[in-house]
Symmetry: C2
Subunit: 245 residues, 2 copies
């Protein structure tokens, strides 16, 4: 049951802007790293993974391997020798890891999660769980900050478009309002891109740069809206999917 209190929605286009945010209390952070961490994490939960431990960097990933965890870690498109699997969505579009715990290497994602430790809740968003996450967030009756993991600290189009798409869904409920220029920019960019997300992202420098790392299959999965309904949520230092936990 929603209260009649209107909540706010705000977007940070980069972790570097998070400290300047207007929202300070009673808020959820939705972390976005469309290419590729948050899309892959949604894929993993949708295929029955039980827990995901976000891990920053190769050395940390190696430590988890030594502790006996399944480790997802690659660099330059290659699975590292000690790791079990890569970081792409397609690495998880099967039932191999059902009910298992995975240590997932994501430098940007881990940084964003650590940064947002002052939030009441941290959840993971991607185009694949857009509607599910917007519904879940609306039910919580809290303010929302959409935090783009960005690419080397820089604004990127794919995360910003997701921020626009989620902002639109939240504002359309009538339970949110905004004074954030980034939300307004995200909405406008989404209004231009939403009808042909794949085509629009073809002009994203990050997508171009990753072209040899992101297969066509992965890209198609990444830009397909609402293929799942997972709500990956941080609990202590790992992510769970409440629907299955």
């Amino acid at each position: 049951m929603l209260s009649k209190n209107i909540k706010t929605v705000e977007v940070c286009f980069s972790p570097k802007l998070y400290e300047h945010r207007l929202t300070k209390d009673n808020f959820i952070v939705v972390i976005v790293d469309i290419l590729r961490a948050t899309t892959s994490i949604c894929a993993a939960f949708d295929h029955g993974v039980e827990k995901i431990i976000p891990v920053a960097g190769i050395e940390k990933a190696r430590e988890y391997k030594e502790k006996g965890y399944i480790v997802a870690c690659e660099r330059d498109g290659k699975v590292l020798d000690f790791a079990d699997v890569g970081n792409s969505p397609s690495d998880f579009l099967n039932d191999v890891f059902r009910e298992r715990t995975i240590a997932y290497s994501t430098t940007n994602g881990t940084k964003a999660i650590n940064l947002a430790s002052d939030a009441d809740e941290i959840v993971i968003g991607s185009f694949t769980n857009l509607t599910a996450i917007s519904e879940w967030v609306t039910e919580q009756d809290k303010n929302v900050v959409i935090l783009c993991a960005a690419w080397k600290g820089l604004f990127n189009l794919e995360d910003s478009l997701f921020a626009g798409a989620l902002s639109e869904k939240l504002l359309d409920t009538g339970h949110f309002e905004t004074e954030c220029d980034s939300v307004k920019a995200g909405l406008d960019l989404w209004s231009l891109a939403g009808e042909d997300l794949a085509g629009y992202l073809a002009k994203s420098s990050h997508r171009n740069r990753l072209k040899h790392l992101v297969s066509d299959e992965d890209f198609q999965y990444t830009v397909t809206l609402d293929s799942n309904r997972v709500i990956p949520r941080l609990e202590s230092n790992y992510l769970i999917n409440p629907a299955t936990n």
Copy 2:
């Protein structure tokens, strides 16, 4: 005479993103703080001011007053008691300060200028000198970084729209290319806003927040393209307008 070397154009939506920029060498920084510093600085040079010293904060401004300078400094819409004039464009749309040097208080602008000290040149952009600055920058045959001064570190629409407008002019010359997602976002936002900039900015939170500080006259001046052809440029610690110096 332009060389046939294609140069790059990049946008930083906030000073917080400047350190992550892709452009490292052989570049000009165009500083943008549409509401209000860079618009006011263009107005002042267009009305014959000889030099402008960008000054951060009230105490620094007071020191310049004690040294005998004309000082432009206000807070919360009021000219401070020790200052000679405020910070709005309309404070300079007259010939009172012709051939004078002004110490102009601008916290965000001064920060941006200090940050960009590694650039070959630092110039000042606003909608009022858009075409002049794009032509001047093109003639320099260097890479370009458009640095938005931002509002309390946050992305804002007015600076970002200017970044899009200037990027469009530069790319249209055929002498520039870009791999920067912020340029692409700026171009798209400008494609939506350019035909009715004033109307579009009515939805800018910063404009709304400053509504009691920015008069209708100032706002109209701010959003009018190409009312002057000044090229305010940093030399040592002050700005000059090469056309008149």
